[in-house]
């Protein structure tokens, strides 16, 4: 039974499976996003201190959560590829990186736009935003390194080492930035704290986070298929597929 699952470690075997999964996750993402947005704009009440501006939280926090979660998943797949020498794991890591970087950018952008009405300025060096910025650089470094190495096997392995070093450092970086921020901001920590969490607000954030997660799976699987076709383009089954299309 277990050996059956390992069959899907082959790019050729997983390719059609990914294709079948994508529509399901896309639909889930769409439905959850609609539900989440409905809660965000029509169910969640107006905040006492921040007014309507706090509604950005329903996109900012899920994006930030996904940016961090995807980095860990990416590092996990990279480590798997390094340990078990499976090509598909490295391809999965490559497939995850652009989506992770996208969510990081969205977290930064929405964070800035949330900061302007609440703090008066677009960019603030608060601990979380600054850590997000560094996370974006970690993603970009991973993508750049993979793109710079022509041999795909070597690129996967080098990327995996970098992702693991990054993953180990992310908590250290976050801690150091938070330390730096509290030192310089004094007692006004947690300036971007969410308003005291009404149940509806939490629900909205969770639903949007789930939507983002389903979306990430769908998009990553689609990108993975692209990568498989590109990397395995000399394989017989790919040639057959191209000829049939």
């Amino acid at each position: 039974m277990n050996s059956d699952l390992f069959r899907f470690a082959s790019p050729q075997a997983f390719f059609p499976v990914a294709g079948k999964l994508i529509p399901w996750f896309s639909v889930l993402a769409g439905v959850l996003a609609l539900a989440g947005l409905y809660i965000a704009f029509f169910v969640a009440p107006t905040d006492a201190t921040q007014g309507e501006a706090y509604r950005i939280i329903f996109i900012h926090v899920p994006a930030a959560w996904m940016s961090m979660f995807l980095y860990l998943v990416m590092a996990g797949w990279a480590a798997t590829g390094l340990a078990m020498n499976t090509r598909l794991s490295g391809m999965m890591a490559s497939a995850l990186a652009p989506t992770g970087a996208m969510f990081t950018f969205v977290a930064l952008w929405t964070g800035a736009l949330w900061g302007k009405p609440t703090w008066g300025t677009y960019w603030v060096w608060d601990a979380r935003l600054t850590s997000e910025l560094i996370l974006l650089f970690l993603y970009l470094g991973f993508i750049a390194l993979k793109n710079a190495i022509p041999d795909p096997a070597r690129a996967d392995q080098a990327g995996a080492i970098l992702a693991l070093v990054g993953a180990v450092n992310v908590p250290i970086i976050y801690f150091s930035v938070q330390w730096w921020n509290t030192l310089h901001q004094g007692s006004s920590i947690n300036l971007m704290a969410a308003p005291t969490m009404a149940a509806t607000m939490l629900a909205g954030m969770l639903v949007m986070a789930l939507a983002a997660w389903m979306y990430s799976i769908a998009v990553t699987l689609a990108r993975l298929r692209s990568i498989i076709l590109e990397r395995e383009r000399d394989a017989g089954w790919v040639r057959l597929q191209r000829a049939a299309a």
């Binding site: 390194l145 710079a148 970098l162 070093v165 970086i173 150091s176 930035v177 030192l183």
Partner: protein, 221 residues
């Protein structure tokens, strides 16, 4: 142990032969530190508050500039492959090269930095903290830097890429290193920051060489 010290001395000898390269890095450091006042104005209070950050950012940039050469020369003439199959464990080879790198980059930089601190108007006790922090922090730059150098070995555009890879990872060193001096300027004890730098040194002495060895094996396959 003999093999270790052999490689340290070899790398130092090679660095001394290419004295220009080594001095370039140090001059770069001093130059970067000299540019900031030209950019922000000579007001003493401003410069004093900036000093810690400027010196540390300069140290980070100087490290990034010096690192591509750590493995590239040996890679080009096949010595690195010999080191891989030699009886001395690769980790020892890498640690020896890192130690030498610190001796010809980090250590001189740490020793010059108080002079720059003086230019920026830092008082004596802040200068002492700066020196201590740099002595603790520059080895971290070499340890993690070796991993960056190994990952980008033989890659086109390695110089720019190595900065992109390493600078995010250097952030904790920067934060605690500069924080130590800032604390001292404010009249506070910098022991917390220095201890944190020590902790970073401990962590990076495990992570850096591991990653560098793994990356070298990948590059030399």
């Amino acid at each position: 142990m003999r093999g270790f010290s052999l490689i340290v001395r070899r790398d130092l000898r090679l660095a001394l032969r290419r004295r220009g390269d080594v001095l370039n890095v140090l001059v770069f450091f001093v130059l970067v530190a000299s540019l900031f006042p030209l950019g922000v104005g000579p007001e003493a209070e401003l410069l004093r508050s900036m000093a810690a950050g400027v010196v540390w950012v300069g140290a980070l940039l100087a490290a990034v500039v010096s690192l591509p050469r750590l493995f590239s020369a040996d890679y080009a003439d096949g010595t690195l492959e010999q080191m891989l199959i030699a009886p001395l464990p690769l980790a020892a080879v890498v640690l020896a090269k890192i130690a030498a790198h610190w001796l010809y980059t980090g250590l001189p930089l740490a020793l010059i930095a108080p002079l720059i601190g003086l230019q920026y108007g830092l008082p004596a006790d802040a200068l002492a903290v700066l020196l201590a922090a740099l002595l603790l922090g520059t080895p971290v730059l070499s340890l993690l830097g070796a991993a960056g150098a190994a990952l980008t070995l033989g890659v086109r555009g390695a110089g720019a890429l190595i900065g992109l890879l390493l600078l995010p990872l250097y952030v904790p060193v920067l934060v605690f290193g500069a924080g130590a001096v800032t604390a001292s300027l404010a009249g506070m004890n910098a022991s917390a920051q220095l201890s944190l730098l020590g902790a970073l040194l401990a962590v990076s002495s495990l992570v850096g060489p591991w990653a560098a060895c793994a990356a070298l094996r990948v590059a030399l396959d």
